[in-house]
Amino acid sequence: MTSTTTTKGVLSPRKKKASLPWSGLMFWIIIAIWMIPVAWLVLMSIRPSADILAGLEIIPSRITFDGYITFLSKDIWYGAYLNSLTYSTLNTVMSVTVALPAAYAFSRFSFAGDKHLFFWLLTNRMAPAAVFLLPFFNMYKAVGLFDTNLGVAIAHMLFNVPLAVWILEGFISGIPREVDETAAIDGYSLPRFFIKIFLPMIRSGIGVTAFFCFMFSWVELLIARTITSTEAKPISAAMTRTVTSGGLDWTLLSTAGVMTILPGILAIWFVRKYIAKGFALGRV
């Protein structure tokens, strides 16, 4: 925490850095090249399909917003989009809620088997989703979680909860134990201390964690695709199922692509400053 304030103070005199006069320009060129594919996607989304198929154009000669209109008016598109938003949000809330007390326990308490449990938790992050997919598929069919947003959210906790515990443990360990001890002396009960004092102190950690959980759930394809069919069909499945059918509406598909970037950009915009503050990834 203190390092950020000092960094600022020290970096400003360093601003004269004559060592890298070209870095500014080179930097923007690299960013521009890195961004070409994304810019291309945006360009495709406002060109008529026929034009896209007609050949390569850097600057579109005709512009259309049909893709966006269709996307927002047909429920197979916006419905799938809402499904993805729903399970990603659900997953984020559930993952953080479950991970918070666990991360606190791993950081503050020592109890029999804690090291093993923590490590085992991380191994769950290592295990490929494929290992759990077949049993989940059968289990979901049996208990009625198949093709539900809640089902996808729960399945995604598989990889998000270990990550959430890991990141949060890093943040929590960054807060001195004296804070806990003082609160204990002041007569706070543990749950009250946790909610009233501790959570506000690690809110940037919660923000970063929520961001990663949301992002991983949002982009996950294999699980979301396999354990849904129509009701909870994710946007990625809507996009891929159209890809495999005959005539493709490239404008519409690109529009869907652009739309799927939006929540992420919003999320990044909000957690950007927390990420910039730096966070520890806990012990490895």
Binding site: F132, L134, S254, G257, I261
Partner: protein
């Protein structure tokens, strides 16, 4: 000194995590290993076949190719991702105007759906109207069939994988860079170190725990490659086999051909592979990772 009582409350705090959730995963995990020793049909009907699935796997040329491809993606992809993301994060960490904008921009590939990435790169790679063939023909090279030529397809996939995973790693590395105390930089400047020396003697060693994390996470990711291949290469085309990874072959076997037991066996092998390689990385970390 008064403290919150540990012991019981420790278990109480991890109870939500380990009750429902992880029990579910343990169950699924064990179930999956069990499937691997069976022929499992679409409706869950099983016959025990022992190690037959595994012995068949190692005589299956597509499985062998998928295994080799997975090594190809991970072996080339992870070093590339680590090097590129460290450089990019270092650049992004400079104080250049427009920070909010370019930081957000660089993260975009990380938050783009694989479905969109696949779609997009299929167009960039398109042999007739694709931007890449357009650019390389301007430069005087022969246009290529990027995603249908069996000799090239793996390289095309690799590029997309690197592009899409670097962003995420940059986020992590930036956070790591921010944590390096400015005391070190001040001292180095007073001693007259140049930018290159500062980068190699201060930034890299102090960043090594984060780099290690990035290496671990991207290795795990590359060993589980699925979506980009699945989405970019038309299923059933010759190139699909040539680009196939362990997880795409798992999906193919388990859900397209309904060979659930065979699929489970593939997933178990990929799990063993990931564990073994991650374990090796942890053993090797003592040689180059510095914790302060």
């Amino acid at each position: 000194m008064k403290r919150f009582r540990a012991g019981l409350s420790g278990y109480l705090f991890i109870a939500p995590l380990f009750s429902g959730l992880l029990l579910l995963y343990v169950y699924a995990f064990v179930q999956n290993i069990f499937y691997g020793f069976n022929d499992v049909g679409v409706f869950g009907e099983r016959t025990f076949v022992g190690l037959e699935n595994y012995s068949e796997l190692f005589q299956d040329p597509i499985f062998i190719r998928s295994l080799i491809n997975t090594f190809f993606y991970a072996g080339l992809g992870v070093p590339l991702v680590v090097v590129i993301s460290v450089c990019l994060a270092w650049l992004l960490n400079q104080k250049i105007k427009g920070q909010a904008l370019y930081r957000t921009a660089v993260f975009i590939p990380a938050i783009t759906l694989p479905a969109a990435i696949g779609l997009l790169w299929r167009w960039l790679y398109n042999s007739q109207y694709g931007l890449i063939n357009f650019l390389i023909s301007k430069l005087g090279f022969e246009p290529k069939a990027w995603i249908s030529d069996p000799d090239i397809v793996r390289w095309s996939i690799l590029i997309v994988l690197v592009w899409s995973s670097v962003s995420y790693m940059v986020i992590i590395l930036l956070a790591g860079l921010q944590r390096i105390s400015s005391v070190y930089y001040d001292a180095a400047q007073i001693d007259g170190a140049n930018t290159r020396q500062i980068f190699f003697k201060i930034t890299l060693p102090l960043l090594s725990p984060t780099i290690f994390f990035v290496a671990i996470v991207s290795m795990i990711g590359f060993l589980q490659v699925f979506d980009v291949i699945f989405l970019m290469i038309r299923d059933g085309s010759v190139a699909y086999q040539y680009a196939s990874s362990l997880v795409t072959y798992f999906y193919e076997a388990a859900f397209a051909q309904n060979l659930r037991g065979y699929g489970a066996a593939i997933s178990v092998i990929s799990l063993i592979l990931i564990f073994a390689i991650t374990f090796m990385q942890f053993r090797l970390q003592k040689r180059w990772v510095h914790y302060d």
